[in-house]
């Protein structure tokens, strides 16, 4: 019989599986039958041929479009259905489990292909126009659903196939075109083949450089890449014409065989499989498989080559191909060395199941209908019946073709096989001798994996040894397949790099070996030993570069001391950071579906303090006398925020602030009434020496307050307690309110020095008549009271003091001669205000008059605030005459007042009461207060005076807080300032920093001639740009935000502080004092005409 028809050697029916696709694993021992309802694995080993190993319900809504076993060692199978692709794993216990789910496509997946060289790579094509390359190894950690590469095919790709020789190359087809991709340049196809005018149904690689395309136009084309120029190449290769559209054309695993499957055409027998020798003749098929309705077929190699088919009748058939047929196709000989190389390049396998299962369901549908239908909607997909051959199909015209086979061709095939069989005696002898020698001396990193001297094949590989102490092998490996031709050693061998880890530049290796081999072959010398040696050299040099390779991902895990993954199985990273509004932490949340999510959490409620408090707190007081009011405000603020513990602290602090004041007043009175007033009134004017003399006498008596349990001790405890529990806010605010720089020992400030340098400025000041008091702020710490003990500043102070203008003298006069009556004092101030015509008193800072300006603020406190302040009022009243009536004036609080000040809700505190009672003795002049109109202002005035008198007593520790701890408190302030900075509360931050006992490091601008220049604090040089060229720093620093002041900025011409114009403006909307804490009344100075605001437009350097 000329025609060879095969019939199956074995058939088994699985009626209930309703499988629509079939695929074989690498060994050919397992077959997966997959359908919408079930996934089943069959054992095809001879011992277990009929065994249905496992059947799991699949339950998919959509038909399975493609399935393929991994071509590596893993028993993994990829199954595509609709838009997703699942990787199932066949466990040793014969369970089939879904291990990984790849969701990257947005439309139906049309095809899958595992890379045969790198078993972890999977390519999938889809109607969404992308071909995705997935690295399964990378996904094992449950990582993101992102393919390693995405190739944009523009049109929906219907097939994708890896090149079997180079793992970087793959082919995809869409419509009638084939695109060849090189993953090293994944952006564009490296080649483009317009193979067919109509749709390509099947795509395969015939060998390393030829693609087989089976198309709707009834042809199978073999297009060679290398001679492909533009679109004409499709004609170069042989064309096999059939009578029906071709569904698949796949190379057989032997020789030149190609199996074609035609698209079933209605009523005609189709789906028949024909085997062709594609290099010999297309006149007739060599072999035809007598099977109908075949859905899918695959090869396996046992002793012979078996074709496994799955057909519509739910029957699995095994066709054993007669050996002569194999030989007819040139199988089992050397004619197709690439195929040999390909098959041997795999690790253990002697045979690669290269026949990839093909799309059936969706694919066939495509063949018959228009592609787009599939991508429309799933319903459609479900509804459209699988368009594979109908049961009723009859023999078709393909039959006619396959009738032509003659015995002659069989003979010829045999002959050709014989003639081409190797006669490798020479080569073999050479190789054998050489190989034995090489093997004896082989380096430890080299392994000979495969020795087939008959075929002239030697495969050796290099793997780096792990270093001691490392758990894992660091992954530089590469294998070389050397193929020695017959003429060896005169003919140089060819080399192929296999299984190389990504660090290895394969081209380099091959090129290097090739050159070396060529060198020796020219001399007709053997080169194996040299090549192995060379290979070792190359590989060991690669070792150090292992980390840089772009293919980092696979290697990251291999490098043992890189702390990867920093994530868990489901990646979960956590960082929490300080947030505007507190600290929030955010953790990129990972779930398998979405990789790039970051979730922010607001954890501010965990903080012991909050932003709202910071916004509303009073952080500074113009004078110590305002502490009481400030405490009350803070009390009410914290009440409003339901921070009761904090509120308690403020309540106590409020009491202490009032308590301390009369105490001192009493002391000062006991000492020398006149003296006390003198200081109060004319603090700036009294020669420092005189004050020093006097205060020394008082020191002893006052000092006890510092150690009184209700004095600074208590405040100190409250501060440290707050801080201990993380409440820096309370600690810093308390410390800020209760430490005044005025009491602190002089902290060396170069500010004075600066002014001394700026001689022009000083001269200017001295000559200009001023309304304000002398420049007390030019002294050390900027305190008017500093003069009393800052000996080094006396000169300057004195200099100014002698330069007072008449008005000042008048003011001083008033004050010096003021009686104890507060109405006098108030009148004085009012007078001054009138004289000056400005809203704020000229002495609005530090001195008594400043009480006026803040009086409003303090009095502005709401109910609770005022309530508690009434306690304070009582105490003050005990010294200073006024309060009770004033309270009455406010209404609702009169009951607190009581002449003796005994009652009072706030001060019902036992300890305070005791103190109160004593102090109440001093109470006099109650009527005075009542007559003074606005009581609240009076109160504050009183408080002010009291406190001032206390402050003037120059004891380092005698005030409220122990001055020796000022740096300690500064820490709280600094860290709180930092927090305020984070919150963007620059104003509050500056207020806090203003209270620092050391003037912060902001640079100041000095005046030189008519130009401004900046004095750099670090090197002392001046600079006319915001940048100090001497020490290479930005020197123009904003006093408020403490960042370099670039752009529009403004600086006080006198003190030199300032910064960003908007910051400065906002600061001075309600304040008059320099934000840097130098004490300069910048605004007043400017208004009084001593200077004009200077806006310095600096360029950012």
């Amino acid at each position: 019989m000329a025609n060879r028809y095969g019939s199956e050697s074995f058939a088994i029916e699985f009626r209930d599986l309703q499988a629509t696709t079939l695929c074989l694993d690498k060994t050919g021992n397992f077959a997966l039958l997959a359908g919408r309802k079930y996934l089943a694995v069959l054992g095809l080993e001879e011992t277990s041929t009929d065994k249905l190993l496992v059947r799991v319900p699949y339950g998919g809504k959509y038909e399975i479009s493609s399935a393929q076993w991994c071509k590596g060692e893993d028993k993994q199978v990829a199954i595509a259905s609709s838009q997703r692709c699942d990787i199932y794993e066949l466990t040793d216990a014969a369970e089939l489990k879904c291990a990984i789910r790849l969701k990257g496509h947005t439309r139906v997946i049309t095809d899958l292909d595992w890379c045969s060289l790198n078993p972890s790579l999977l390519a999938s094509s889809s109607f969404d126009s992308y071909v995705h390359i997935w690295d399964i190894r990378a996904r094992n950690s449950g990582s993101a659903d992102k393919p390693q590469f995405s190739l944009s095919a523009l049109d929906g790709a219907s097939q994708v196939r890896w090149n079997r020789v180079c793992e970087d190359i793959l082919a995809s087809c869409d419509g009638g075109h084939v695109k060849i991709w090189d993953l090293r340049k994944p952006n564009t196809p490296s080649e483009f083949i317009a193979a067919h005018a109509s749709k390509i149904n099947g795509l395969e690689w015939a060998n390393s450089d030829t693609v087989i395309t089976a198309a709707q136009d009834c042809t199978v084309k073999f297009s060679k890449l290398s001679d492909n120029k533009g679109t004409s190449a499709s004609n170069k290769g042989p064309i096999l014409s059939l009578t029906a559209p071709v569904w698949r054309a796949r190379p057989a695993p032997f020789g030149r065989g190609v199996v074609t499957q035609c698209v079933p055409i209605l009523r005609r027998d189709s789906g028949l499989l024909s085997l062709w020798d594609w290099k010999q003749h297309f006149a007739s098929p060599i072999f035809t498989f007598q099977a109908y309705d075949i859905i899918e077929f695959a090869w396996r190699k046992t002793k012979n080559y078996d074709l496994i088919t799955w057909s519509r009748d739910q029957t699995l058939r095994v066709w054993t191909l007669p050996r002569e047929i194999v030989q007819l196709c040139g199988g089992d000989d050397e004619e197709n060395p690439i195929r040999d190389v390909m098959s041997t390049s795999h690790d253990q396998a002697t045979f690669i199941a290269e026949e990839d299962e093909e799309t059936t369901e969706a694919g066939v549908e495509l063949a018959m209908e228009e592609d787009l239908e599939v991508e429309e909607e799933e319903q459609e997909q479900e509804e459209s019946p699988p368009p594979t051959p109908q049961k009723t199909s009859t023999p078709t015209s393909t039959m006619t073709i396959r009738n032509k086979r003659t015995a002659a061709t069989l003979e010829r095939g045999n002959r050709s096989r014989k003639s081409s069989s190797p006669s490798p005696l020479n080569r073999r002898d050479f190789l054998k001798a050489e190989f034995e020698k090489v093997e004896q001396e082989k380096p430890e990193n080299i392994n000979f994996d495969q020795i087939e001297l008959d075929k002239g094949l030697i495969r050796f590989s290099w793997s780096s040894k792990s270093k001691p102490g490392e758990n894992k092998v660091r992954g530089v490996t590469a294998g070389i397949l050397a193929s020695f031709a017959n003429g060896y050693p005169a003919v140089s061998p060819t080399f192929l790099v296999t299984n190389a880890s990504s660090e290895v530049d394969k081209n380099d290796v091959v090129k290097s070996l090739k050159n070396l081999a060529l060198h020796y072959s020219k001399k007709n010398e053997q080169c194996l030993a040299k090549c192995v040696e060379q290979f070792c050299t190359i590989m060991s040099s690669i070792k150090t570069l292992e980390d840089i390779e772009e293919g980092y991902f696979g290697n990251v895990r291999g490098v043992s001391n890189v702390p990867f993954p920093r994530t868990s199985e489901n990646e979960d990273i956590f960082r929490h950071r300080d947030r505007r509004h507190h600290h929030n932490h955010h953790r990129p949340r990972h779930d398998k579906k979405r990789a790039g999510l970051v979730t922010l959490f607001d954890v501010s409620p965990l903080l012991p303090f909050n932003l709202k408090l910071a916004e509303d707190y009073k952080h500074i007081v113009p004078t110590p006398g305002h502490r009481k009011a400030a405490c009350d405000i803070n009390l009410s603020v914290s009440f409003a925020q339901k921070k009761h513990l904090v509120a308690n602290i403020w309540q106590a602090a409020g009491i202490i602030s009032t308590f301390a004041s009369p105490e001192e007043m009493q002391n000062s009175r006991n000492g020398d009434d006149q003296y006390g007033n003198g200081i109060v009134v004319g603090s700036e004017l009294i020669p420092a020496a005189a004050i020093n003399d006097m205060t020394f006498e008082e020191e002893e008596e006052i000092n006890w307050l510092a150690y009184h349990p209700l004095g600074c001790e208590l405040i100190h405890m409250m501060i440290t307690h707050s801080a201990q529990f993380g409440d820096v806010q309370t600690a810093a605010t308390l410390a800020g309110l209760f430490t005044s720089k005025e009491h602190l020992p002089s902290v060396g400030s170069d500010y004075v020095g600066q002014f001394k340098k700026g001689g022009g400025g000083q001269g200017h000041r001295q000559t200009v008549p001023r309304l304000t008091v002398p420049k007390w702020w030019t002294k050390g710490t900027g305190s008017p009271y500093h003069t009393v003990h800052g000996s080094d500043t006396h000169g300057i102070v004195g200099g100014f003091n002698y330069n007072v203008n008449p008005l000042l003298s008048a003011e001083t006069f008033f004050r010096q001669h003021r009686s104890n009556s507060w109405s006098d004092s108030l009148d004085d101030i009012k007078t001054l205000q009138l004289l000056h015509g400005v809203g704020e008193g000229p002495m609005s800072n530090g001195g008594t008059a400043s009480a006026m300006s803040t009086g409003g603020g303090g009095g502005g406190g709401d109910g609770p605030s005022y309530h508690s302040s009434s306690g304070g009022i009582q105490i003050q009243g005990s010294n200073k005459n006024n309060t009770p009536n004033k309270n009455g004036g406010r209404g609702g609080h009169s009951h607190h007042g009581g002449g003796g000040g005994v009652g009072g809700g706030v001060i019902s505190d036992a300890a305070t009461n005791g103190a109160m009672m004593v102090l109440a003795n001093n109470n006099n002049n109650i009527g005075d207060a009542a007559m003074n109109g606005d009581g609240s202002a009076m109160v504050r005035l009183g408080g002010t005076v009291v406190c001032i008198s206390k402050q003037l007593i120059p004891v380092g520790k005698g005030v409220v807080l122990d001055g020796s701890l000022h740096r300690f408190y500064d820490r709280y302030k600094k860290s709180y300032a930092e927090i305020l900075f984070r919150w963007g509360l620059l104003q509050q931050r500056a207020e806090i920093l203003k209270n620092l006992t050391e003037i912060s490091e902001s640079n100041t601008i000095t005046r030189m001639g008519v130009d401004f220049s900046i004095l750099c604090r670090s090197c002392g040089e001046t600079s006319k740009t915001p940048y100090c060229f001497h020490c290479k720093r930005i020197v123009s620093i904003c006093s408020i935000c403490h960042t370099p002041a670039k752009g529009l900025s403004t600086f006080c011409p006198l003190c030199g502080h300032g910064g960003h114009a908007n910051h400065v403006l906002s600061w001075f909307t309600d304040k008059k004092v320099c934000p840097a804490g130098c004490g300069c009344l910048c605004i007043t100075e400017i208004r009084c005409g001593t200077a004009t605001p200077l806006i310095n437009k600096t360029r950012s350097s």
Binding site: K146, G469, D547, I548, Y552, F553, V556, N561, V562, P563, F564, P565, R566, T567, S568, N570, D572, I573, F574, H576, R577, D578, R580, H581, H583, N584, H585, H586, R587, P588, H590, R594, G596, L597, V598, T599, L600, V603, P605, L606, L607, P608, A723, Q724, F725, G726, D962, L965, H966, R967, F968, R971, Y972, S975, I979, F981, R982, G984, K1032, T1043
Partner: protein, 324 residues
Amino acid sequence: MATFNVATIDTGHEDMIHDAQMDFLGTKLATCSCDKNIRIFDLNVQTGTHTFVAELKGHEGPVWQLAWAHPRFDTLLASCSYDRRVIIWKEVLDVKHDGRKIPKWEPMYTYEGHESSVNSVCWAPPEWGLMLAAGSSDGTISVLSYVNDRWEAKKIPSAHTLGCNAVTWSPPTGPSSMSAGDPGSNAITTVKRFASGGCDNLVKIWKEENEEWTEETKLEGHSDWVRDVAWSPSAGLTKMKIASCSQDRRVIVWNNRESDGVSWTPELLHVFDDVVWHVSWNFVGDVLAVSGGDNQVSLWKKRESESWECISDSSKSQQQQHHH
């Protein structure tokens, strides 16, 4: 506990995110990923909205960690990557013709002094100037500082055999005690210190002496790789603390009761069910956040009872088992 989700941001990274950091003011978010890129977002925490600003491409490997510099140094972001490099990115404003300013990110400096993956970067406290520590799998730690207009690197060779996984700076230390009698105690010490954790299961504390970095203390307590260390911010607290977490599933808080930086006593916070990847203090230093392989983030706070207590939602039931 009243923590709430402010926003969920789809960063658009194509692969696993390794770090996400907010800047000092909480208005910017930077994320880095295995996809080699860094992405910057503008955030508005109140509204929970965010805007994508830029994608920083430059690394050739997965980017492990990010660190924002203090705003006084302008907008700087440091990143470290598997590609053995540290890149410091700077935001510059590109002024258009119409006066609009478009923020642009440029690599300001690339440090290539490591021979293996750089796993951690951390900026020093701003008081020390622009200074950065980077720990690498090659076992070394680099301290980069910006002096005289250029970057200088000091390297600590073999800081951790097998590799350094994390670095963290000590805040400037304050007065060590409140004893007023000791005049020296008030001085703010200017010793620069940082801690590192590595594959040798150790936490080490490094101190700058005579312009050289020397190992001051070695904290032994973990039995597996130390994955992260975090030095608590000093805010108001006198005691210094370092939290370290390890693959041995433990989190240890190291207390320096004397504040001398030398004597540290370990305190086991908790033994978790899985590897612990990260620890992080809030900026007051009283709450510690811990994340681990069990996909949980838990917050821990020290109660007055001197024991650490889990205060977060997810694992509220987990009470601290370790008592003193």
